[in-house]
């Protein structure tokens, strides 16, 4: 039996058995709600958010509801900025509410909001307070701790951050150079955590190393010196951790000379472009690897036609947050035997994989609030297009979507590949 929305369970009264004048009239029609009291309408709680630096714009909401249809969490749950405003207005304290942790900061609401209610500012601001008060979901706290202790959210050994390069050597005979040895390179490749440690992230890193090698790019990685860019931890509320790590990385970059920083992870792109400059890190231009490779595809000798129908998932932090929609598509179109099919929700209106803003580490928490994972909803959409490959270019996505392919029973119908893996396959030099 469904619960009435916005009514706390202890305000609902229902007797298991009701007998009136000898007649059993048990049933849900006997459910009683306590009367709503007038002071449930609390301007103070809106003000509490609005008084938090960054939280001001929540108070702008005029309930037009344009955010709700494009909110990816609402598609699988009961969520979105308009609803958050209304709930806060009617007595919910956002600082201690489960609503605080469901936003993936995908920015689709801000795209359509006529009043510029900015969840990208509101969420980290309110979460930061909640983090300081100790009100963080446990699984997220573990990730914060891992990042603090090991420099990466996976809790892997920081010493082994460059261990993946041994696979590049083994598979392709490629020697991935370290900035520590070179001091100077055209491209400083910031690999990030998932591409360094997660097995499927490593697959993409190995492929990208091969591509850089074939192109003869003068590049280097930071290896064991590299630590998480921490953008998602920041958006999840760990602002202190973010600042500490940002200062570390800014100092580290100052040791080396590079023309550009190339990132695998759109979240790192976002941090370097928008957040690090606020902390004094304005000395490097950052690009995503797809932006770097898009114009050099004809130099790669891609001779093997793949014969795949491919659909592409726009990462929120590459597309909406940083305006790059074409580079990944240019890459895919340049690969022989790739037929690109777009999903209905693409580009500016792309659906979110659920990994951003801390969502990557909140799947357990989220399962209490959504009917299916966002990644599952997205995989169903990809399957509907008739594609056999879901191409991605954000390291959060490979693992999320592969899990979703399994859990939605689409194994054998759809595979998830990083774009650079498809490139290397078409070069006829597949890994192992």
């Amino acid at each position: 039996m469904g619960r009435a929305p916005n009514v706390e369970p202890d305000h609902i009264h229902e007797k298991e058995h009701v007998v009136q004048e000898g007649m059993d009239i048990s049933g849900h029609w006997n459910r009683m709600f306590e009367q709503r009291v007038i002071w449930d309408y609390t301007p103070e709680l809106i003000e509490k958010v609005a008084d938090t630096p960054g939280g001001e714009s929540l108070a702008f909401c005029y309930q037009c509801a344009q955010c709700i249809p494009v909110c990816p969490v609402n598609t699988v749950g009961d969520y979105g900025p308009r609803r958050i405003y209304r709930r806060v207005q009617t007595g919910q304290d956002l600082f201690t509410s489960a609503d605080l942790w469901q936003c993936t900061t995908c920015m689709n609401c801000l795209r359509v909001c006529p009043k510029e209610v900015d969840m990208i500012q509101i969420m980290p601001a309110v979460r930061e307070k909640a983090v300081l008060d100790g009100g963080v979901p446990e699984e997220l706290q573990t990730v914060f701790q891992n990042t603090f202790d090991y420099g990466n959210p996976l809790g892997e050994s920081p010493k082994k951050r460059a261990a993946w390069t041994r696979r590049a050597a083994k598979a392709h005979g490629v020697d991935v150079p370290l900035m520590k040895d070179k001091k100077k390179a055209d491209i400083l490749w910031f690999v990030e955590c998932y591409p360094s440690y997660h097995p499927r992230g490593v697959d993409a890193s190995v492929a990208l190393a091969k591509v850089l090698d074939v192109l003869g790019v003068d590049y280097g990685i930071l290896g064991a010196e590299e630590k998480c860019s921490c953008d998602s931890q920041r958006l999840a509320g760990e602002v202190g951790l973010f600042e500490e790590f940002a200062e570390y990385t800014i100092k580290l970059f100052k040791r080396y000379k590079a023309k550009k920083v190339m990132v695998t992870d759109p979240h790192a792109l976002n941090a370097f472009r928008k957040e690090y400059p606020k902390l004094g890190g304005t000395f490097f231009e950052t690009i995503h690897y797809t932006t770097f490779l898009r114009d050099r595809m004809d130099e790669l000798g891609m001779t093997k036609p793949l014969g795949y129908k491919v659909t592409f998932h726009d990462p929120c932090y590459l597309g909406r947050h940083n305006g790059e929609y074409e580079a990944p598509r240019d890459m895919l179109r340049a690969i022989p035997g790739v037929e690109l099919i777009e999903m209905g929700r693409c580009r500016e209106n792309s659906y979110c994989c659920g990994g951003g803003g801390g969502g990557m580490w909140l799947d357990g928490f989220m399962s209490d609030h959504v009917t299916e994972r966002l990644s599952e909803n997205r995989v169903r959409e990809a399957v509907e297009t008739g594609a056999d490959v879901l191409a991605v270019c954000c390291p959060y996505e490979v693992s999320r979507f592969e899990d979703a392919v399994k859990s939605t029973g689409n194994e054998g119908k759809l595979v998830v590949r990083d774009i650079v893996e498809l490139v290397v396959e078409s070069m006829g030099v597949g890994d192992e």
Binding site: A65, I68, V112, C113, P114, K115, E116
Partner: protein, 352 residues
């Protein structure tokens, strides 16, 4: 000088009403209109019936034009634009170009009645796919069909079975920069919804809105009848996503009163586009040096107590040149502008 004519720029409802007022009071006017006919936006944007009283737009504008045509004291210059203005004492020496030929008009006062333009829904964002989907249209596109007496889906020529209006497109929006309410679109949508229901009785019709702004008599004259008599469905919540699925457009939104998502198939989606300062309003404001507000409408001085006097002595403005206005507002402010312009002529004459 009181014998100088008053220059009126714009031959829409406001300009025509100002000219009539001036002529009726025994003064003379020169009306400069860039199009080849009088009537303004109601005629040139193919309005079918006026909001809120359903008067035939061409007939109503025709009557207004007839009231000033063939009068000795009203000089109507069609296909004409004002290209320069210089002050000559208290007078305005204005260059009017007609088909490449320039002539000079020396006016004692000026009334700017240069109106508005409709917001282009494809300009700022492609949110609603106006240039992508044939069956996504604007209020004006629908007016044109209503005028032609045939409401059909542009994609296939079939009458629609389901049609919806999306309100506040290009209005009340900080990102677009049009923070104001365009004032008329609620009424126009309600009026058009009634006309659609009359013309295509089995077409289910919806209006998605934030607030219905039906002030005064619009409430009982169009809002209530559309809902009560013509069974138009009003749903509080603006749809944001239009996706083509097969033969239909799927409109995704939220019914906020129910707190429920909605996904509704539609044959036609009508975007209720708002008002912006017209190119003519922007150009004439600059040419006559009158102050504009941040939305490029002409600013009138003294707040709500004076709706027609501009920052330049002897220059007045009326109608939608000063901000979103319906026809009622336009003819009212036009009369006020005529009165104040004449008063200004007389005051200068008295001062000698």
């Amino acid at each position: 000088m009181p014998d100088r004519p008053i220059l009126i720029v714009g031959g829409g409802p406001a300009g025509m009403e100002a000219a009539r007022g001036i002529a009726d009071l025994g003064y003379s006017a020169v009306v400069v209109e860039q199009k080849s006919t009088l009537g303004g936006t109601p005629v040139h944007s193919n309005y079918a019936a006026l909001t809120p009283d359903f008067r035939d737009a061409s007939e109503a504008m025709g009557a207004m034009a007839a009231a000033i045509e063939n009068r000795d004291t009203v000089d109507i210059r069609l296909d004409s634009t004002v290209t320069a203005c210089e002050r000559r004492g208290d007078d305005f020496a204005v260059t009017v170009e007609t088909g490449g030929t320039a002539s000079e008009v020396v006016a004692g006062a000026v009334i700017l009645a240069t109106g508005f333009r409709h917001f282009d829904p494809g300009r700022e964002t492609q949110q609603y796919g106006y240039y992508e989907h044939d069956d996504v249209i604007t209020l004006c596109d629908l007016e044109k069909m209503l005028k032609a007496g045939k409401v059909v889906r542009p994609s296939n020529g079939e009458p629609p079975k389901r049609l919806c209006f999306i309100q506040c497109v290009g209005s009340r929006d900080r990102q677009i920069g049009n923070e104001y309410c365009s004032k008329v679109c609620c009424g126009v949508a309600a009026k058009e919804s009634i006309e659609v229901r009359k013309m295509v009785p089995d077409c289910k019709t919806f209006i998605f809105y934030i607030d219905m702004r039906m002030y005064g008599y619009w409430e009982n004259e169009i809002y209530w009848p559309s809902q009560e008599k013509y069974k138009v469905n009003y749903v509080k919540g603006i749809a944001t996503e239009i996706v083509k699925k097969g033969d239909h457009l799927i409109v995704r939104g939220e019914d906020t009163t129910m707190g429920r998502p909605m996904e509704v198939p539609m044959d036609i989606v009508v975007l209720s586009v708002g008002m912006e300062a017209s190119d003519g309003t922007r150009a004439m404001a600059k040419l006559f040096g009158v102050e504009q507000n941040k939305y490029h409408f002409i600013e009138t001085i003294d707040g709500c107590m004076n709706t027609v006097t501009t920052s330049v002595d002897g220059v007045f403005a009326c109608g939608a040149a000063t901000g979103p206005a319906d026809i009622e507002d336009s003819v009212s402010s036009a009369s006020a502008a005529a009165m104040k312009a004449i008063a200004s002529l007389r005051a200068k004459a008295a001062a000698g």
